[in-house]
Amino acid sequence: MKQRILDVEHLRTEFHLRSVNVAAVDDVSLTIDQGECVGLVGESGCGKSTTGLSIMRLLPRSGHVTSGRVLLDGRDLVPLSEAEMRQVRGRAVSMIFQDPMTSLNPTMTIGAQVAEPLVIHFGSSKKAALDRTLETLHLVGIPNPRERVDDYPHQLSGGLRQRVMIATALAAEPKLLIADEPTTALDVTIQAQILDLLDRLREELSMAVLLITHDMGVIAGRTDRVMVMYAGKMVEAATTDELFAATRHPYAEALLQSIPQLTQDASARLPSIPGHPPDLSRLPPGCRFAPRCRYASPACVEEPPLEEAAAGHLVACFHPVGVLPGSGAAAAWSAPGAPSGIPEPPLPPATTPLEPSGAPSRDGDPMPPDAATRRLALAAAPVLVEVDHLVKEYPVRGGGMRRRVGSVKAVSDVSFGIRRGETFGLVGESGCGKSTLGRMVAALERPTSGTVRLGGDELLRLRGADLRRRRRELQLMFQDPYASLDPRMRVGSILREPLVVQGVGDRRQQWETVASLLDEVGLSRRAVDLYPHEFSGGQRQRIGLARALTLNPRLVVADEPVSALDVSIQSQILNLMKALQRNHGLTYLVISHDLAVLRYLSDTIGVMYLGKMVELGAADDIYARPAHPYTHGLIQAIPVPDPSIEKAKRSAAVRGELPSAVNPPSGCRFRTRCPLAQEICAEEEPPLRGFGPGHVAACHFPLLSPSADQQAGGAPVVSVTSEPAPGAS
């Protein structure tokens, strides 16, 4: 029997907001043994981070633990004085946070920050602290710690910073590590490395780890047991294998189903949870999930107790799902997404079709056409966007006189085409140039060379009325619509503004357009009188979509449209984007770091690496038969919500970190991280070669054998690409 490290009993944490007290954590119990990793999962606002902060007693001023016990090694932390608690923090329990950029002190060297817990808790001498710091930095995989100790955080990459963060937490060898979304701000390839590191350290130091995350994939691969939280309550707890194999709580089930899977049928609707989590100050009576639950019955006006559904499997629900064999989450992933309205309670059986989208007001939405029909139609469609040998370089200046000392090669010779009605997905790690490329397509930035054509015209050449007219055809959608919506304007005015500016219709017609847009994106018409801050993130993204559609554009460029949203909301927006595309004949250029989202949304995917388009092809093809080692690595790195797959992956698929775009590696830019790299990769830049219709990749040693007729293969069906561009750099 492993030693019990943490035992949280009936924890309740309240926040005093204005005049009301809200319980952000309500009756949560959990235990973690030595060497064990327990996951705490849920959407934002569910209380998972607050649980972590409550254990550390690091709550903001308005928050207090009001009841319950937090036993660390048998000692209750709740009644400790602040001074006593300081002895515990950083020594017995450590915590790491989401954003390594802001979580490290920018004005202290990393050495000083790693050494700090040693100085605080052991009063270590300078020499002893330095030795231990170097040891810890080495432990977390910082290369050449001795040269790095005097660096400041901004001199390190995001991945290294998170390693430093982990080092600061581990310097004093705590028994328990609380990791709050430790990889959410990182790229998938780096995420895999950091999670590997945490796994290894947990074993080596036999630490207990509480892993707080919103990502079911991360949970599947890294935890021994899971607790699912919703609106401050624990709704399900089980071993990880059990939870995924036999999900019982309707919320956990729905959460799993709404994650876009790489294996997803892209033509089917993504099951999603309607609505959004409740406001903690206005909780529904009884089960908190009831307003969104498709199994809700009159019984649910009572609060369901957390009870054992099977050995060691706790569920708080009157109608747990998966009681019938084979109807667990794994089986439900393939459930058909047929449209229907919100089921009226009581309609409990598990056969109820999933709620189709977050836009229940649109019942007339036609069934999505199947994949084959869509492909055929697209292949015949005219090309709307042509990107031709596009290059963007930013000067780098240095020295006293700000001379140009080099350039950032943000986008290097990229060519592709997007057909009318097509969704083109651009994927890659941050810093790969995908956003720059998107901005050039949206005519927000001037290419260094090369051209972008929209409907045959080069936007940046147009002037005056032509430009204005063309601008209407092109709209943008951002990651955080809040930043792009004027906070002092009512939503009605925000939506109407483009119509006024462009002089479309009279006043009455404009308001009608606004009203129908709101219907279409699934917002109440009352929204016109509200301000952007009165909406949740998902609703704001709907406003962002409505605004993009006001002028009836042909092309919408969406930069990370769903990455700021919770999964349940994300699936609503993805469904909405697809429905709007069908109804308006929209063409999308979607930029995302999330290959699973793009696989679901896109017809064609372009994979970018360090300014180069390394692979391009139909979405299914890219996923099923990646030719480029980088694409393969990206796919491998995505955490899949299935423990059997996730736990079988050992070691991160892509090593190292993105090199500098100022001096990209010679030859193949991926060679510094490629497991297949040979000498020729450093000498010769690999040309784009064909791997089937519409599928091209640039690699000397591809994972597939190239199609015999390279020229034919180089001209994709779904999208036009220029001929392979050998040695162009």
Binding site: F97, T102, Y152, A169, M401
Partner: protein, 313 residues
């Protein structure tokens, strides 16, 4: 760092050249131009002619500027016929006193405001913070001469502990300190309120930042938190503010000096303004500008020294 320093120095030099051109332009536009400015209105035609030749004032304007700038660099800024002394000599006599007054009050303001703001930020929205904020608001809303008058009334007229005029400055260390006390306070209180408000708000921002939460998670004590994690980060923005307020401190000192009869540049400027003694006026303006530019330069260098993100650009 070197690149940053070099660039910043370059900027300062450019600003100084622009300012000097403006001042030269004003001098040139005066009735009688540079010659009268130096010789005074009652000079004979002969001496005007002589000086015109001697100073090269019959040469093209660019050359004239060059000569003037060269002289200015050497401290030759013309001659005040009102005071019968060269401007350079006047300035070298008055300027150190100003540096003393302004320097002491500025240092004192920083020495009080930084810990005060740090403390207020730490105790934000508690009664003591509110009380201090209210007090600071009083100082903040009062012009420095009003503060000066109040100080005189309280500490000189009601309770006679400090002299209200500084006319006998320079007659010994003891008198100097007592003489300086009131002007220094009058000048510094407003700045204390200004700096401390700023320091308080940047302290609050820093205390709520993620890296402070990390420090807390390591078990840092409040003392360690404030001194090691918050002070330096909050100072970076405050230092810039101090640099930016320098011109106001200097102009404030002009009034305070007049009020207390302190024989500094303020008094010089005040008298020169009443007498339309242009060479002196422009000399003072030039010195004040140089001081401002230098102050800003120091502030930026201080900022760079505090914030490694600037240093390693």
């Amino acid at each position: 760092m070197t690149g940053f320093v070099v660039r910043r120095f370059g900027q300062a030099v450019v600003v100084m050249i622009i300012v000097s051109i403006v001042i030269f332009g004003i001098l040139h536009a005066l009735p009688g131009g540079l010659v009268r400015a130096q010789l005074g209105p009652r000079a004979t035609a002969f001496s005007v002619h002589e000086l015109t030749i001697q100073e090269g004032l019959n040469k093209p304007i660019v050359v004239q500027y060059g000569i003037w700038a060269w002289h200015a660099l050497q401290g030759r800024l013309g001659f005040s016929y009102k005071l019968n002394e060269s401007v350079g000599a006047l300035l070298s006599q008055y300027l150190p006193r100003d540096l003393l007054l302004v320097g002491i009050s500025l240092l004192l303001a920083i020495a009080i405001a930084v810990p005060l703001g740090l403390w207020q930020g730490y105790r934000r929205n508690r009664p003591d913070d509110h009380a201090l904020s209210a007090l600071m608001l009083v100082f903040y809303s009062m012009p420095s001469f009003l503060l000066g008058v109040i100080l005189i009334v309280v500490l000189n007229i009601w309770v006679d502990v400090l002299p209200s005029t500084a006319t006998n400055f320079g007659t010994g260390l003891g008198t100097d300190i007592s003489v300086l006390a009131l002007p220094v306070f009058a000048l510094c209180l407003g700045n204390v309120s200004y700096f401390s408000r700023y320091m308080r708000s940047s302290t609050v921002d820093n205390l709520l930042s993620d890296h402070v939460r990390t420090a807390l998670a390591k078990g840092a004590s409040p003392r360690r938190l404030l001194l090691r994690h918050v002070l330096r980060n909050s100072l970076t923005s405050t230092v810039t503010l101090i640099g930016l307020t320098l011109p106001y401190v200097l102009s404030g000192s002009l009034i305070i000096e007049a009020l207390f009869n302190y024989p500094g540049m303020g008094l010089l400027f005040w008298n020169a303004a009443q007498d339309r003694d242009f060479p002196v006026l422009l000399g003072v303006v030039l010195v004040v500008t140089v001081a401002t530019v230098v102050g800003n330069l120091l502030a930026d260098l201080g900022y760079a020294a505090l914030d490694p993100r600037i240093r390693y650009k």
